[in-house]
């Protein structure tokens, strides 16, 4: 219902032109996710989920198209609400139509295009995005994306040779884009942290935060 979505915007997001992001990502995506735009996150991974988590936690519905491998538990740990997720693992060759249909209902659509989108497809989806005011998070390349995030470096903590286990990953995320997001930035994040959540990591810190309790 149109009324409800307006209400939502006012409630959860003072700036109705943007969807909120997790606090840890605020420096990389200043102001949040701009409605009607595309965010590219490189190859599929937790970063895509982290980008969507803030808005999902704030109440937005999130659809994942072409991602049969999406780890729902990881998504929930990162902050997405599984109760407001739609999964379309296999959209087939009609994925642009599927994405466009979903954008009518969901404010966030994660997509991993099964093929390289043509310029025509990109233009059509961009028009749909502007009309619906949603945000498309693309795992993969997308010419003309408003913002682009990439994992530049990563290191795992907690695991040794034959002992320990994976506990947390410290990644350096590089961001660039167009317009307001044009300035290239980089930030260290726990992606995931020891409890699966996403948090900012101090650049100097080498050891993981206190992770013993989580064993």
């Amino acid at each position: 219902m149109p009324l409800s979505s307006r209400r939502h915007d006012e409630d959860t997001q003072p700036d109705s032109g943007r969807l909120p992001v997790l606090p840890a990502l605020r420096e990389l995506l200043p102001g949040g996710l701009q409605r009607g735009t595309v965010v590219a996150v490189g190859r599929w991974g937790l970063l895509g989920l982290a980008v969507a988590a803030g808005a999902s936690a704030a109440g937005a519905w999130c659809a994942a198209v072409g991602l049969p491998q999406l780890g729902v538990v990881a998504a929930a740990d990162a902050g997405l609400d599984p109760g407001r997720m739609l999964l379309i693992p296999d959209p087939g060759t009609h994925w642009p139509q599927v994405v466009a249909s979903l954008l009518d209902g969901c404010e966030l659509v994660l997509v991993r295009p099964p093929d390289r989108p043509s310029a025509q497809v990109r233009t059509r989806l961009a028009a749909t995005l502007r009309r619906c005011g949603g945000v498309l998070v693309v795992a993969g390349g997308w010419e003309g994306a408003q913002a682009r995030l990439l994992v530049a470096r990563q290191e795992w903590a907690g695991i040794g040779t034959g002992h320990g286990r994976l506990r947390a990953r410290r990644v350096q995320v590089a961001a660039d884009g167009r317009g307001a997001a044009a300035r290239a930035r980089a930030q260290w994040l726990w992606l995931p942290g020891p409890d699966g959540s996403v948090g900012g990591a101090d650049q100097v810190t080498v050891s993981a935060p206190d992770m013993r309790e989580t064993g």
């Binding site: 991974g45 599984p82 739609l86 249909s101 994976l166 506990r167 947390a168």
Partner: protein
């Protein structure tokens, strides 16, 4: 006999003094009880057996009374009631009927008293206040007094309250007769000692002060039944159906008829101010096959959307077992626009596929035509409109539902799913995908983790997932989270991988010498893993690893039993993997990325 307006039916209560009324203290509750039992001159210790025995004995009294009127309501051991109107006519009046009953009950060996009044409450009180008959002295449990004097009972043990005099009869009685401890305690302290004084209060004030219980007592004090009758109108049959004669062999007309049927069903529901939570679609083929499925509706679906569900259901219906060859007049179901060939889970790969016409992937063939289509609204609720909309309601909003339904129309019902988290050991087992908008009752029931063996032989689940109230649009998805808090021995520890391969990728893991790393039955690794290749990709040096974590799952079921040992590997490119070795083969289950 006048049965007027609100006046209750004339009731006759047969009361045999001496039975415990309703509880341990009940023997002292009625003074009549003491009179009846004590007056017999029998020691009470002997005359009062346990209540169970007496309850059984009272059956004999009831069967005697049933000789007069077949519909006897047993109130409690010691008291039963009959409607008096019919039998009184037959036996020559209320008094004559009462006398006959008392005589007959005495013949069975029990003293009894009879009260006749308007309504059960007054009749009970009347029976308790009837004078006992001096001649009728048998007590419960005793044998008949004397077969020589069966007619010694005179009808003095009857109290008849004339029709319309019930209120006057009740007026002088103490409020304790209401049988409500609260009121019995409270009313005298307010200066209200008799039922008459209570009945004189304004009704609204009684309702205000004493609530529902007070209103019931107030009506009783007025000689009215405890509450006005609230007969429920028989639920209207809101199901709609259409017969096809001759059976319809084309799908389109059936779907078209379904749309009209759905409109009729919606109109019928709307006329009654109702909405249905689910709609049952039932299709019957001419060969007797039947397909019944429940679809979530929630008052959200348009007639067209219901018709879409009918289409999906028809398309999903398996062919008859004998799988007839494609027939020139077989029904062709064109798949919805844009659909691609999908293999629906759960059907044998034969049948439908071989019956599918070769040139177009968009047509499917059944044998036989549809004879009848019925839509039954299920779980009717008052239609309160769908005021949805605060995001955060765990109910799929209208907008989302419409988008999902549109995608389902393109790709098929199973293509749009919602995740339900549940308990599980491996990453893939913790999530169940439920088609959007469906209520799937075929899912296995949730299984609790049980650990019949040692720590490495943790129990598993019987089925693929836990459908915790699956399919409900309203807030079920987090219901399964309860299970996440439960311990799952052998569970992969957090954090969870973001990429879980639906089908594990084959992999190779070797040690320094290039030999495949193996894990013995005792969980010993042959050598530290040194390099890994995923699905034919270039070799990557393993920089860190942990494991093995052996799990033996479902070892009690030879068909699904599996033993695998899991590892976490970090490769030189910084990627982390969840790999497992099973039967000497390495598999990549998930990737942490």
């Amino acid at each position: 006999m006048r049965i007027a307006g609100d006046r209750p039916e004339r009731v006759l209560v047969v009361w045999c003094p001496g039975w415990p009324a309703a509880g341990p203290e009940a023997g002292t509750a009625g003074d009549g009880a003491a009179r009846g039992a004590g007056g017999g001159g029998v020691a009470r210790g002997d005359a009062v057996p346990d209540a169970g025995h007496r309850a059984a004995d009272f059956g004999r009294v009831v069967s005697v009374v049933e000789g007069f009127c077949p519909r006897v309501e047993m109130l409690r051991p010691g008291a039963c009631a009959v409607g008096v109107r019919g039998p009184a006519r037959y036996f020559g009046g209320e008094a004559a009927l009462a006398a006959k009953i008392i005589t007959a009950v005495a013949g069975a060996g029990f003293a009894s008293q009879v009260g006749i009044a308007d309504g059960l409450f007054a009749a009970c009180l009347a029976a308790e206040r009837a004078r006992p008959v001096p001649g009728a002295r048998p007590v419960p449990g005793a044998r008949p007094v004397s077969s020589a004097r069966p007619t010694a009972v005179r009808p003095g043990a009857v109290m008849t309250v004339a029709p319309g005099r019930t209120r006057a009869f009740l007026a002088p009685l103490p409020v304790g007769a209401l049988g409500s401890p609260e009121l019995t305690d409270l009313l005298p302290r307010l200066g209200i000692r008799t039922l008459g004084e209570f009945a004189a209060l304004p009704a609204a004030e009684v309702a205000n002060r004493f609530g529902t219980a007070g209103v019931i007592a107030y009506r009783l004090a007025h000689g009215l039944p405890p509450r006005p009758l609230a007969p429920r109108p028989p639920p209207a049959d809101l199901s709609v159906s259409q017969e096809f004669d001759p059976p319809e062999r084309q799908a389109e007309p059936v779907v078209f008829a379904a749309k009209a049927l759905a409109e009729r069903m919606h109109n019928g529901l709307a006329a009654n101010g109702l909405a249905c939570v689910r709609v049952q679609v039932q299709a019957v083929w001419e060969d007797g096959r039947e397909s019944t499925r429940l679809w979530r509706h929630d008052g959200l679906l348009s007639a067209l959307a219901v018709a879409d569900r009918v289409r999906w259901q028809l398309a999903d219906t398996p062919p008859p077992a004998h799988s007839p060859p494609p027939h020139p007049i077989a029904v062709k179901i064109p798949a919805p626009m844009g659909a691609k060939k999908r293999t629906t889970d759960g059907y044998p790969p034969g049948g439908r596929d071989e019956a599918r016409s070769g040139d177009e992937g968009d047509e499917e063939v059944w044998g036989g035509g549809v004879r009848m289509l019925r839509l039954v609204p299920d779980q009717l609720v008052r239609d309160q409109g769908w005021q949805l909309g605060l995001w955060g309601d765990a109910v799929a909003s209208d907008r989302v539902a419409r988008a999902a339904i549109r995608v389902q129309a393109m790709l098929g019902h199973d293509a749009v799913t919602r995740p339900v988290l549940g308990g599980g050991r491996g990453p893939a087992e913790q999530v169940t995908l439920v088609p959007f908008g469906s209520v799937d009752d075929r899912m296995p029931s949730p299984g609790r983790p049980d650990t019949p063996g040692g720590p490495d032989r943790a129990g598993g689940r019987g089925g693929p997932g836990r459908p915790d109230r699956a399919g409900e649009l309203g807030g079920p998805e987090r219901g399964g989270l309860d299970d996440l808090g439960q311990p799952w021995p052998g569970r992969i520890p957090a954090p969870s991988p973001a990429t879980i391969y639906p089908a594990p990728l084959p992999a190779s893991v070797t040690d320094d010498s290039g030999a495949t790393v193996t894990v013995s039955g005792r969980g010993v690794v042959s050598a530290p893993p040194a390099q890994m290749s995923a699905d034919g990709a270039p070799w990557l040096v393993v920089t860190a690893w942990a494991g093995p974590w052996p799990v033996a799952e479902r070892w009690w079921d030879p068909r699904t039993a599996r033993r695998r040992a899991r590892f976490q590997l970090v490769t030189e490119d910084g990627a982390a993997w969840l790999v497992a070795v099973q039967n000497g083969r390495w598999l990549i289950e998930a990737r942490y990325d």
